[in-house]
Structures are given as C-alpha cells and as structure tokens.
C-alpha cells in the first residue's frame, strides 16, 4: 500500500473528521488577527446555507435560484422580531427557521410542479420577488434603509457573542450540526431517494418514489438551512439590508458548491472556505480580482466538473475497485495453483463516506 493510498484512506476515516474539528477549534489561537477569525466565522455561516443548497440541488437535482432569498428571509425574520417586536434572540432564531420552512413549503409546492430549467427560472423570479418585497415593503422591512441594531445571540450571561471569537465557536457549532444532519440525510435511504430523483424523475417514479412529496421535503430542508444561516448572519453582522436577497449571493453559493463538489458531503464546506479565502487573499487587486478568479473557475469546471471532493471520490472509487479486482484475481490464481477450491472473494467495502 503506497503513501497515496494511505493518505486517501485516512481522509475518509472518522479520525480525519476529528482532525478537522480540532483544527477549527484551534484556529482562533493561531489566527494572526481578529479579522481572520471574523472571516472564518462568516464563511461557516455561509457554509450552512450552502449545505442547504446541496440538499435540493446537489442531492435532489433541482436548481433552486431563490436560495439567497430564503437566506434573507431568515435574516429579516430575526431582525424584525428582535428589533421591532422586542423578541429575545433565540426565540426569534427558532421563528426564523420556522418561517423559512413554512415559506419554503408554500413556494416548493408551487414551484416544484415545474421541472428542470423551468423550475430554475421560476425560483429565480421568486428570489427577485423576495428582494422586491424586502426593498419596497417599508412598514415591515424598513425598505432600502435596512434594519440596524440587531442584537447578537444571547449568551445567557455566560458568553458575549458580540465578541468575534465566541461567535466563531457558535457558528462552528451550528455548522458542525448542519453537516452532521446533512450527512445523516445523504447516507440514509432518504438521501438515496433524493439521488434517484436527481438521476431522473421518470426513473424515480418508476421505482415507486413519490416525486412531489420528496422534492418538497428536500426543498423545505434547504430553505430551513438557508434561513437558519441567514438568522445567524443577522446576529453576526447586526445590520442587514435588501441586498442580502440579491441573486449574486445565490450564484456565489452555486460557485462554492461547484468548486467543492456538488452532491458530496465535504464539498460545500471545502468550496466555501476555498473561495472565501481566495477572495480575501486577492483583496489587494480590488475589482480586478475577477480577472484571476474567472479563468480559475473556467479551468476548474472544464477539468474538474465534479469539484474537488467529487473528483477525489471518483478517483478513489476507481482505485478501490481496481484494488478489489486485483485482489480477487490474485486469490483466484493462488487457489488455482494450490487447490481446486472456488476462490474466496474479498468483500471490501467501497462505499462513499465523504
């Protein structure tokens, strides 16, 4: 077993997950300034929303372009309830998730009657309508002024989440929880059901899968993720405006997904972090950073259409299959030369756990 195989095997173990969590826990201590911690916390918050998008788009194959809109709905629900109605942060936070789920259900039931690009176009319009409502419905949303003085998450007197580092750990906790749930879903029969729909509506229906029910479920899960992330965002940035609902956020999230690996478990996180830090490191180029950024994306999409994690998994899957075949052949050869017994076949697990 060579080093490459060892490394790739290690990446798939639970130990690797522990390494990542420990690294995330230690990050504030090694960060050179508070700004880096802030950027990382913000990336975690976005990653939560990207995990939501991965459920409806990555697993279930429905390109939802209203995702940024639902992020804004979460942020605005929290802001309106806390600032205008005096709710405490955590009840408003739960309400934000519930509103995201409810509106997701209503939009999903209608929009999921459409398929493929018609669904994408419809949700693009939904996203824009959300933006318009936030911008124009001044009595509710404060219009273009946005909402200021949003309270930070309450630490119940134990921690102060207005400080960057405590908030970083809060965002990390929520993100780990989000990934854990996403992993549960992806590796369960439910995830397989979503994946069957991604392959083809016709195939899934012929396998006895109720398309509407499962698509709506995936959609509601994704909008809940988005609005929870939005609510956290509001509690972190403490000032929001209609711009949160702009479609560019949705396309940013699609980019994160594509770079990391759509439909994979670690892709959304990897993509979000990679692009966030790349953007940060190209900050000195200002607007010209797109000149660097654009070609990099083009190259990635051409040569690694499955994204970083997707390409890795494909590569590893082939290696495992080849190793399995070689092993079987070797055993067959051995048993042929020694006895006439039927060759024992190894049953190496080749499942995807990344």
């Amino acid at each position: 077993m060579n080093a490459l195989t060892k490394i790739s095997n290690f990446l798939m173990t639970p130990a690797m997950k522990m390494v990542m969590i420990v690294a995330a826990l230690l990050f504030p201590f090694v960060a050179s300034n508070e700004y880096q911690i802030y950027v990382m916390a913000l990336a975690f918050v976005w990653a939560i929303a990207v995990y939501g998008m991965n459920i409806i788009t990555g697993l279930c194959g429905q390109l939802n372009l209203a995702h940024g809109g639902f992020f804004a709905i979460g942020a605005y629900t929290l802001a309106i309830l806390t600032v205008d109605h005096g709710w405490a942060f955590w009840p408003a936070f739960i309400a934000a998730g519930a509103v995201g789920a409810l509106l997701g259900f209503l939009v999903g039931v209608i929009s999921l009657r459409l398929k493929e690009h018609y669904f994408a176009i419809f949700t693009l319009c939904v996203g824009f309508i959300i933006y318009l409502l936030l911008d124009k419905w001044e009595e509710l949303t404060h219009g273009a002024l946005g909402i200021i003085n949003i309270p930070a998450p309450s630490g119940f007197g134990l921690v102060d989440f207005t400080e960057t580092t405590p908030f970083y750990y809060l965002a990390l906790a929520f993100m780990v929880l989000s990934i854990w749930l996403a992993s549960r879903i992806a590796h369960s029969l439910l995830g397989r059901t979503f994946l069957a729909i991604r392959i083809s509506d016709d195939l899934a229906a012929s396998l006895g899968i109720n398309l509407m029910r499962n698509k709506v479920l995936a959609f509601v899960l994704s909008t809940t993720y988005a609005s929870v992330a939005g609510a956290l965002y509001a509690g972190m940035v403490r000032f929001i405006g209609p711009a949160e609902a702009e479609v560019t956020h949705t396309f940013d999230m699609i980019t994160y997904l594509l770079v990391g690996g759509i439909g994979t478990l670690m892709g959304p996180l990897l993509g979000t972090l990679a692009i966030t830090w790349l953007t940060q490191s190209l900050q000195f180029l200002e607007e010209y950073r797109m000149i660097v950024f654009g070609p990099m994306l083009v190259v990635l999409v051409i040569f690694f259409p499955k994204g970083v994690v997707g390409s890795f998994l494909a590569w590893r899957g082939r290696r495992l299959a080849a190793a399995h075949d070689a092993n079987t052949a070797k055993q067959a050869a051995v048993s042929k030369t020694s006895t006439d017994k039927t060759p024992a076949t190894s049953t190496q697990e080749a499942g995807n756990h990344a």
Partner: protein, 255 residues
C-alpha cells in the same frame, strides 16, 4: 394479469395509441413489436402510469389502475426499464441498486434524524435485496465498480436488477437489447427467461426479431397506434398485415 380495454392516447390530433385491447397472461413473456413511431413506448408509458390515457381502461390483477400515478403503480408491483439506461454513474453498482427497494420501506425524515431502529433495519433490508438482485442478474463480481466504468450490457443488467429490487410481479422492458451485440443479446434473453422462471411476468418492446421470435410466448404488433396482430411468434410471422407493416405494401417487396 394485465387486461387492456380499448386503450387510446391522443396528442392533439394524433392518436399515438388507438383503441388497443389485449390481455397479458401471468408468467409469460409478452412482446410488443412494431415499426419506429408505432406507439409502443407510449403504450408502456400508459401502463406504467407515466401518462394518463385519453380513453380506455387498464386492469391489473383485477384492479382498475387507469390513470393511477406512476409511483403507486410501482408499489402495486409493476416495474419498468427505459430505453436509455439511467443510473448514477459516480457511485458503485451496488449503491445504485439499494434505492430500488425504497418503496417497500417506511422510514421518514424523523427516522433519519434519530437514526431509528426502523431505518437501520430497512437499510439492511434494502442492501440485502440489492445484493440479491445483483446476484440474480449475474453481476455480483462487479458490485464494487464505479457504474461509469461498466459495459453497456452490464448497465442493462443493472437496470434489470434495479427494476427487480422493487419486488415486481410484472416487468416492462423497453428495448432491453438496444445497443448491444448479438452474443450479449442472447445472454440477456437467457436472463429474461430466468426472470419468468422465478415468477415474474415480462412484457417487452424490442426490435431484434430473432430475439423476439425465440423468446416471446405472445406477440402484439402495433402500427400507427393500432393493434394489427396478436398471437404466437409463428402466427404473427405469417400474418400478411404484419409483413405489410414491416416491408411496405409493395407486392414485390412483400414477396
């Protein structure tokens, strides 16, 4: 097993399937043949519930299933394969098959969140069923391969296995031997016979005449949406209407 009464499907002015009545018996291989565009696939889509008929009635095991949704029909025991094999290329062959038994399970989102015993049992059941059907189609040696890397014939077999994983009593095969060579076609025919021997009724659309004539117990011939003949391979072979549909009405060509 399957009784079709006066089935009609119109798309605007065009009758893709026109007034077709037929009965398919259990434990038999029933074939549907006809020139391209004759309405064979539309007929399948109507039986499988992918589209609702304009007129007529479909009776499955004495039950009226006309216009019933596709997924409900699948749960009643009708499975199908498609002309183009649709599989998830990025995962292993075995992983592709596990979802096939999903319709016989009950787990919901809540089971997933708490990782309930029901979910774990059902996942075990689905995996076992996937392994079973993989063995049945003779592919247990490639269950670990990435699906993108297997041959066309193997993909066809995986598609069969996926249909079988739903525990069907009737399987509709849409051009199972499309795009594979003669030797593979024979192997696939043997597999179809094996399915029938194990109590599954088969109904297939196929263009390869050699295969159909040696395989089918009963053949229905469709042309321009209408049934022009039905019967055993020998009866159909000598039917002048069938010869006309395939070779044209030109007397010289028919002779």
């Amino acid at each position: 097993m399957l009784k079709i009464h006066n089935l009609t499907k119109r798309f605007g002015g065009l009758a893709a399937v026109n007034n077709v009545s037929i009965e398919f018996e259990a434990n038999k291989i029933n074939a549907i043949i006809g020139p391209n565009g004759a309405g064979k696939s539309t007929f399948f889509n109507l039986v499988a519930g992918a589209m609702a008929p304009t007129e007529g009635r479909i009776e499955y095991q004495g039950m009226d299933i006309t216009g019933m949704a596709c997924d409900r029909i699948a749960r009643l025991g009708i499975a199908r394969t498609f002309q183009t094999t649709m599989l998830f290329d990025q995962s292993t062959v075995l992983d592709n098959l596990i979802v096939g038994h999903r319709l016989r399970t009950q787990s919901r989102l809540w089971d997933v969140i708490i990782n309930s015993k029901r979910l774990r049992d059902e996942e075990k059941k689905c995996r076992a069923r996937a392994q079973e059907v993989l063995d049945f189609v003779g592919l247990s040696h490639i269950g670990h391969r990435i699906t993108a890397d297997i041959s066309q014939e193997e993909k066809k077999r995986v598609a069969f296995a996926l249909a079988l994983a739903t525990d069907p009593e009737l399987v509709l095969l849409d051009e199972p031997a499309g795009g594979i060579n003669p030797e593979e076609t024979e192997n696939l025919a043997a597999l179809i016979r094996k399915m029938v021997d194990h109590g599954v009724t088969v109904c297939l659309i196929e263009h390869k005449m050699d295969m159909i004539m040696s395989l089918a117990d009963k053949i229905m011939v469709i042309d321009h949406g209408e049934k022009i003949a039905e019967g055993t391979p020998d009866e159909v072979k000598n039917n002048p209407l069938v010869i006309e549909a395939y070779l044209g009405s030109d007397e010289d060509a028919a002779a």
